[in-house]
Symmetry: C2
């Protein structure tokens, strides 16, 4: 099966001269030789001597299967980079393809430039071999330590979305992305092919996917390799691509096919871009993609101990084991490695032959040295308008009600206006639901698929839109990561419960940041990954239980303190201040939790900015302890929870006017941790000054209560900290009813105070009965009449 | 665009008589009328009076957009169920389609049978209307409370995989599954179409997907609605289906098209099954699927306030708001609801007209009453061989080394052999990697795609295989959930780090179980969801940092204590006992953490069974405190961590023979929680008896250390519990090196003891220096020579 384009290519006159083909093949052999060397050798790197057991590593680790296919792709991309002076990066999707990438980094000198001990000579080659899969050194994925990489691929599924993220607003860039046919079975990858409906050929670059069909995963064939060629072609046409198939195993024929196909694809990309840019008319193109069918473990041992290895899953990892003890195995490896004829590839000192060196691009055109793959180098700080200009003016605390996210939308609108080529907002069809719709005034949503006349009435979609919406959290998160890793800025906003869909992506990005920031010095800082969580657990009036899960924060806090930040701004003004801070920061994951419903505003802009900068503080206007030691500390973190905690204080102030209450609000959750655990952590002295050393603390928390204990269990007063939060009780409920079920409501909080402050058991007994009555009344009211969502927010705030 | 099949169908003579079409349309109108009533009315349910503001609910909540399309599908499925006596269930993929399903449950009487107050009369109809989206009552998804549902759909993406899970080993069953075109954009859904390569027409049932292309999500068009019809057809052909398109909006024409198409699909399914079953030759068929293009909010208001509503995203939720205050809006709703002509549908008492009642299937043929959707009713306990027969015989603790999962594989092999139609094992291409390959002796992996001759050499795939492997955690988890929900049994096993890919699926299944178990009495218990986590954080010698994340347990513990269980068997015999227990249990999520590498076996089978039944206990053979109060408690949870803790004790026993050490091992992690928090929790008295009230406790834990604090922070001795665990430090490391980096190794644990036991600071000073030296030596050794994975596991266990 060949696509029409492919037949046309095959019929054309040959693309490669005999000499060019010979050189490309030699370069490819050099790559493959290095890959094998990385897996096997700890000595005798140039095979100057016959291989002996002591030349082999003690422990053989690594993955061969995907390597030769990927090196094949790389050398052919090199050819077109040089021929057309392309600005291209490479993303390696298959799980364990690092040797393919590292070998090329080494051959084109980038590796030696960064890691001088891996010099391009015999000693350096040996260092390279030894470092691979050696404890603490080179991993078998394209880790942050690998130059040219923005995609590690330890977990599978995100290569295509990362590639698209890289080329948005990079009109000159081509991201070539190798997709393993194993990876292609994952859900995130399967939908990410649709990213082509969001790529504008005028202002964006291009993605050239190469589906590497080597046919096998760890121990199974791949699905796509075992459907009919017609189905495969239909599938990719259905996804909106123009597939080009390169299939075979005989190197000479394959070089010619691949060279002509890659060249045809590049020309097709250029033609699409030129046409769109000249006409200034971005019709959705059918971008080219390549399906490369080549054997797994290509050019490796064909058979070992009577079992097929090449072109079979047995070549996935180390294709021949026990080489130290099994002479036949040793012979197979030697024969295999010598089949690349290293003496033709490297001189006696281990340097790549000059005629081969000439095949690689130079300087920043090398895929291993392209600055887009070290995006911090290209990053320019955002132009950010003064967030104070978007403040909600306020006479007194709680005198206004505003949707925090709706107000934020105005700020983000102008952030976008000021950064029309370097800032994007990402959401799974939820920007408007999360009340950020004001941003559409700066730019509509990107939409390269069909637009109908009725869309003019409020749909806000256009080919040159900059707001990214697709109903795939995976794709959005992947796009944003790719966008950030190449030096730009953005925010992902999503429903709280469903941010768990990208838990694993968060884990992987956090791990990447951790290594890149703390261990890989040549990587420049990139913009933080900003995740805005809205449509919170506490306001799921008609969505119910499935939409109630605040546990993402638990997950976040498992990752390194050096790169994680959690903010729970209590109101609209605080959200502005937090957002401004996060947009300026680098190398963090900032998680912002903010509801979309109208909420009371407590702090004017100046007070909010100060409060957020401190991250935690006493709200004196809500407290009654003056400068005294309080009887009780009421603390809160989260907008809805702060409202209820304040309402509880209002009740207590009215009914128990002598009670000394201190009100503490936490914006920056990590302030609670000891300073020894997190850079934002308060010293014990400062913590004690806020929370006392021995007074009861009622802490009303947005999420699962345990997180507050996790952060505070080493504090002096921990045993007195009583945390309320979501305890997995819910249904479709009114907000007050849900709060009551989880005991985060004003009435239960007031009862908590009465129960815990010594001496109140008697004097507060009457109030407690009244509070219990309020709880019953509220539930009854909800159960008979339903409740308008607004009415529960009001309370009587005592004057003076 | 129409498929060939469709043209053929259209050309055939009419499927519906005029009368049948009239009746079907009336039934459909009755459904739609009820849907609208659920969203709007609190009085006047039969519109006997003109609508007045007080007839409307105070708060309008619900989703109209998807309802009329889904009711349309349901009534047409009813027709073929009756015509062909089909055994069919219905899965509602779109997020908020509950009114469509509930209205049908009500009309076919199931609803009234279960919830008598929702009787089929005027009062019952009013109760139904009032209950919908009312606090604490009927949600807008197909929650566990909805009869006939096994798929809630609050989170999107899993409808197709659930449907496939339902029909595996149910040769007679057809699962019709409505996929929203919004949901179709998610990654999990996008790859789940490939499930057709795992469905064997001989022994499995069939899935009939109906892609409901109503064109819009919350606020955007859907991607699939805005690509060309040719692309759409190519896509589904590429996925291996035969698509049939039904498109239009004029009800009469649509009824005819849908009737003929659904009938054609059913006949096609039957033909495929008959052919395969007769020939006993399961070639992969191209199963039929339907693409239904109908307007969003079909038959609803066309326009409101000058904005298009029908066939646009504006009909997603409540299509007309402010009906109490806006007379024009009230008029629109009245006109719309009366357009269904309720007086023709219901008699004056509110009962569905008899001629319409006859249209629904009866008894268990009703999709709302099909027993497969209440799988616990059909569930039969597994036939389980005696796990003791698979024991590792043992002379003394630590005298053998066995891979726990490899040994488990033998047990699972025979579990499978004994339950060849009701048990399956699911894994993302990792069963063999996780060493469970012995199960292939009972049955190979299911594979309906192409099989090549070379597969005979060890690939273990066959059309009638029962082990499910595809590189999509989402699809596997979805299949298993569907399989369990319909009354069968299974295990999902996956790499520890990547179980996070299904975090959100776990959350949703746990929430389903929580409600189904505790609140929905008519649902019978289903088999527990068993998740076996292997390839653990501590043994990622060549995979490195990306593969190190034990945080799934944190997520698990956020869900209800009534349905969550976590087991960390320390060795192969304990794993057998735990697995046996989990396979017998119902209505839990059981998470089992067990490594695949060879580990020491500590307990013989009898001791293991007792230890696991207790879930926690003192290992006296490892302790030196006799019956005395110990100087220190060394505790462990997890196989690798237990080994290091024991090794630390061995060192201490040798060097500090007078030190009284108590060794406690925890299998059932929830034993640590107070009994007030979890049914498995120890009483404080029992906890104190194990961990003392005041002695130092060194706890070596498999996961992030916090979880132990979370479970124990209310215990008497909590301030003395010192937890070691993974603290996010890693790379490609030798096991000992990784342990040392995270301080869970024997040397650091011994130092912990010296540091924390009063009086050892001096007497243990010399040992501490030696231990530090060991740490440095170990790191140096790893950094110079690398280390074979085995050598660190040995230690000298003092005799006597």
């Amino acid at each position: 099966m060949r696509s029409t384009q492919n037949i046309r290519a095959a019929e054309a006159s040959r693309t490669l001269s005999d000499n060019e083909r010979r050189l490309i093949d030699a370069y490819w052999r050099a790559c493959n030789y290095l890959c094998a060397g990385m897996i096997y050798l700890r000595d005798n790197p140039l095979l100057k001597e016959p291989l002996r057991p002591e030349h082999f590593k003690n422990r053989l680790l690594g993955h061969w299967g995907s390597d030769p296919g990927q090196t094949f792709i790389w050398v052919h991309l090199n050819r077109v980079i040089r021929k057309f002076d392309l600005n291209m990066i490479y993303l390696s999707g298959p799980g364990h393809g690092a040797p393919a990438v590292i070998s090329n980094c080494y051959l084109e000198k980038t590796y030696s430039e960064i890691y001088p001990e891996k010099s391009r000579d015999e000693a350096g080659m040996l260092n390279l071999f030894r470092a691979f899969s050696f404890p603490g050194q080179l991993g078998s994925h394209c880790t942050p330590e690998v130059p040219g990489s923005i995609h590690e691929g330890g977990e599978l599924g995100y290569s295509v979305s990362h590639a698209f993220g890289a080329v948005f607003d990079n009109p000159d860039l081509i991201a070539s992305v190798v997709v393993g046919d194993g990876e292609a079975e994952t859900g995130p990858l399967a939908t990410s092919w649709h990213s082509n409906k969001f790529l504008n050929p005028i202002r964006d670059g291009a993605v050239l996917p190469i589906l590497h069909m080597n046919g096998y995963k760890i121990a199974n064939p791949t699905l796509l390799a075992r459907i009919t060629p017609q189905e495969l072609e239909d599938l990719f046409k259905g996804y909106g691509w123009t597939p080009h198939v390169v299939e075979g195993e005989e190197p000479d024929a394959m070089h010619e096919k691949m060279a002509s196909t890659v060249e045809a694809c590049v020309l097709q990309i250029r033609a699409i871009q030129e046409q769109a840019r000249k006409a200034n008319k971005p019709d959705r193109p059918r971008w080219p993609m390549i399906i490369l069918r080549s054997p797994k473990g290509w050019t490796g041992p064909k058979e070992v101990d009577g079992h097929q290895v090449e072109n079979f899953w047995r070549s996935h990892q180390v294709p021949v084991t026990e080489v130290k003890s099994n002479p036949e195995h040793l012979r197979i490896v030697e024969q295999w490695m010598r089949s690349y004829r290293p003496q033709e590839l490297f001189d006696e000192h281990g340097a790549l032959m000059p005629e081969l060196q000439d095949l690689a691009p130079v300087g920043e055109r090398r895929m291993s040295a392209n600055p887009h793959a070290n995006g911090g180098k290209l990053r320019k700080p955002l132009a950010i308008p003064d967030f104070r200009d978007y403040a909600v003016p306020l006479d007194s605390p709680g005198s206004k009600r505003v949707s925090p996210t709706e107000n934020l939308g105005r700020f983000l609108r102008d952030v976008m206006k000021s950064n029309m080529t370097s800032f994007r907002l990402f959401s799974p069809d939820e920007n408007a639901s999360n009340r950020l719709q004001e941003v559409y005034k700066a730019s509509p949503k990107t939409w390269m698929a069909q637009i109908k006349p009725e869309d003019a009435d409020g749909t806000e979609i256009a080919p040159d839109g900059r707001v990214m919406e697709m109903l795939s959290e995976h794709t959005l998160e992947g796009w944003l990561e790719g966008y950030l890793l190449t030096g730009r800025h953005g925010i992902f906003n999503t429903y709280e419960a469903f941010v768990h869909i990208v838990d694993s992506m968060y884990n992987q990005h956090a791990k990447w940041l951790d290594k890149a920031k703390l261990e890989v010095r040549w990587r420049a800082p990139i913009s933080s990954l900003n995740i805005l969580i809205s449509s919170l657990v506490w306001r799921q009036d008609h969505n119910g239980f499935t939409h109630q899960d605040p546990g993402f924060l638990d997950l976040v806090s498992n990752k390194s303190a050096e790169i994680t930040r959690i903010y729970l701004p209590p109101d609209a003004n605080c959200l502005l201040s937090v957002a401004d801070h996060c947009l300026r920061s680098t190398d963090y994951v900032n998680v912002i939790v903010s509801d979309k419903q109208p909420h009371l505003v407590y702090l004017d802009m100046e007070a909010a900015a100060i409060h957020c900068a401190k991250g935690i503080g006493i709200w004196e206007w809500a407290s009654t302890d003056a400068a005294d030691e309080p009887d009780v500390v009421m603390a809160s973190a989260g907008d809805i929870l702060t409202q209820e905690a304040l309402a509880a204080v209002a009740i207590l102030r009215e009914h128990l006017p002598k009670l000394k209450i201190r009100f503490v609000n936490v914006v920056d959750l990590y302030r609670l941790q000891p300073s020894t655990e997190h850079p934002h952590g308060l010293s014990d002295r400062d913590f004690d000054a806020l929370f006392t050393r021995d007074k009861p603390v009622i802490f009303n928390f947005h999420g699962y209560p345990w997180l507050i204990h996790k952060f505070t269990y080493r504090r002096t007063n921990h045993s007195n900290i009583h945390v309320r939060g979501y305890k997995e009780k819910g249904n479709i409920n009114t907000p007050l009813e849900l709060a009551i079920q989880n005991q985060v409501d004003r009435f239960n909080l007031a009862i908590d105070v009465i129960d815990r402050v010594p001496g109140l058991r008697n004097s507060g007994a009457h109030l407690k009965e009244w509070l219990k009555g309020q709880i019953i009344d509220s539930i009854n009211h909800a159960n008979t009449e339903g409740t308008d969502r607004d009415e529960i927010q009001h309370w009587k705030w005592p004057q003076g």
